[in-house]
Symmetry: C2
Subunit: 353 residues, 2 copies
């Protein structure tokens, strides 16, 4: 069972997964891959995972058998676990708690060697639908304060298994980045009665930092991008929760993700990256109470895509500054130069420029 400890000065939480052996992960080369034969996420190996939580599969195909298109299972090496008493304690001047939560693996495809940017749009749509439905379900457990959906691509971005997956983690606390975003977005709202993310979308859509847009979403290179070619995908209409997305929203989201990830691949040649869904906390009333500004009004869910192609040094860890050699205006122009569209006749992508 992991334990969670909080630093008394930074107030940051650290998870100590005490049931995992420590090995120097950097010993693994970045391009080292697992073989499909050894892969618990490949079809035919369903018995090697914990029993599935949910799967999209054809009628007649049985639970924990092959045939699925997208499948979610509990993580065998979970950072947080559903079972256990929810225990918060002090240790002298320190704070700790048991790591009660959930940690699920969303197996995106049966194809061990598939790559996200090559998925058909319909596959991306099913992955995001599965993510939405799992987040909805986990939100029903009122012990959980935040549901984090994320994806690690390549070892240097923290990928541990080759088979393409996303992960869903339900946390018993609201994490600090979300807390900070919420504090700042609330202050902006109290001052202007506007969502700060809507203001960003209004300022940057069709400007030099826009990567692409469709009817429901816009992809922007943020003004203060921390990473080269960082990209944030925003729903154009204000919404604080990812899980409120409807079916036509999922279609539009899959469409823009296909475009963004194809272009990212074309610009940086299959870079390592993290993809993270940021949304409002699961039980906002337990975290935050100010009747003048509700989380619904001032928080705006979005997806962050963080390419991991430069190294983080002691300067960044010492200060919290980031150093980024690529201006977002340059990044957005490079993306736009590679934006591809789906050729309806062949079903393949082609460049538009």
């Amino acid at each position: 069972m992991s334990i969670l400890r909080r630093d008394p000065v930074s107030l940051g939480w650290v998870i100590f997964p005490t049931d995992r052996p420590f090995r120097k992960e950097h010993a693994h080369e970045d391009d080292e891959r697992d073989s499909p034969e050894q892969c618990p996420f490949c079809p035919g190996h369903e018995a090697e995972t914990l029993p599935e939580i949910s799967a999209y599969r054809p009628p007649g195909s049985g639970k924990d058998s092959a045939g699925w298109r997208v499948r979610t299972v509990p993580n065998k090496y979970a950072l947080l676990r559903i079972e256990g008493k929810f225990d918060r304690r002090g240790e002298g001047l320190y704070d700790m708690m048991n790591a009660v939560g959930a940690h699920e693996v969303l197996i995106e495809t049966p194809d061990h060697d598939a790559r996200f940017h090559e998925y058909p749009v319909t596959t991306i749509e099913e992955i995001m639908r599965m993510a939405r439905d799992r987040v909805k379900d986990l939100t029903l457990d009122t012990r959980f304060r935040y549901i984090q959906v994320f994806r690690n691509h390549r070892r240097r971005a923290g990928e541990t298994m080759t088979h393409p997956t996303s992960q869903i983690i339900a946390l018993p606390v609201v994490p600090r980045w979300v807390r900070e975003e919420i504090n700042q977005a609330r202050d902006h709202y109290l001052q202007k009665e506007r969502c700060i993310f809507c203001d960003i979308i209004n300022q940057d859509t069709r400007g030099p930092r826009m990567i692409c847009e469709n009817e429901a979403f816009v992809a922007l290179a943020p003004y203060a991008s921390r990473f080269p070619y960082e990209c944030w995908i925003y729903p154009k209409d204000h919404a604080h929760l990812f899980q409120s997305i409807n079916d036509s929203g999922l279609t539009a989201l899959a469409d823009i993700m296909k475009t963004v990830f194809s272009a990212l691949h074309a610009v940086l040649d299959d870079p390592a990256y993290n993809m993270i869904i940021h949304q409002a906390p699961a039980q906002p009333e337990k975290f935050y109470h100010d009747v003048r500004a509700r989380v619904n009004d001032f928080y705006h869910w979005h997806i962050e895509v963080l390419p991991r192609v430069v190294r983080v040094s002691g300067f960044e860890y010492g200060t919290g500054f980031y150093v980024n050699p690529v201006l977002p205006e340059t990044a957005a122009a490079d993306y736009r130069g590679k934006i591809q569209i789906l050729d309806e006749s062949t079903g393949r992508l082609k460049a538009i420029d």
Copy 2:
């Protein structure tokens, strides 16, 4: 000239060094080394650096010539530069400023292939003396709000040159980590009239998280260590500024650093790491004003050693949580098992256990 941009939601600053070409740094293997022949920091190549700011050299040896033991030069590829107008501006809802500051390279030794943990204690003492004197000098420039001293070891920790160096950066703003530490330390002080770092030192010295101590310093594995084998070195007597260290303090600091880095090397076999000096802001009165709690009273300078042996994934970037597979109690015990002492007769290190 770099520019600094601030994210309107996280309030984090990003430096865009617009005069550096972008290359995918991860293309470099971690063990790739520069040759001494090509190295601008090696003796005999003094003309390849910018003119030296300071050096410790024997009497009679001339500026920018060989013979130095420790030498500080301006960084040719500086993230921030001394020249230029100090310009803060808005861009719509965003904030930017010119990257006015300083970025110096502290060349620790003439020996291209030396390693920090193998330096004689007297070399470490001279390095820390040079760092102290440079910080003192930079603090006189009232445009600078924070002076950051740090060291990157190995490529994966952000090292760009093989020759052993530390770096000193003077910033025109107080960075967010320091701001957060100060806010929390102030709240603690207002509540208890005690320094929170002194409380940590009192709770953990001689406890299961202590690595080692001498008369003036203690090295602890922090209760909520973010990284495996993370180590913080604190002066036992309360002091808010690193640069206030006196000569006997430098001797004691060099002594404990030699012990910590020797043990770190013995435990993890020459791991990548960052070393960062955290101290109070340079012009605290421009940053902070509360007569009930002065920065001198509640901030406590310290050195953070962050081994970089596990990868950071989307979970960490999404939440601000860290995942650390090694409890600090285990890390401290492992360090203690390798603590070495200097054998006075041979001048070499020997294990005490």
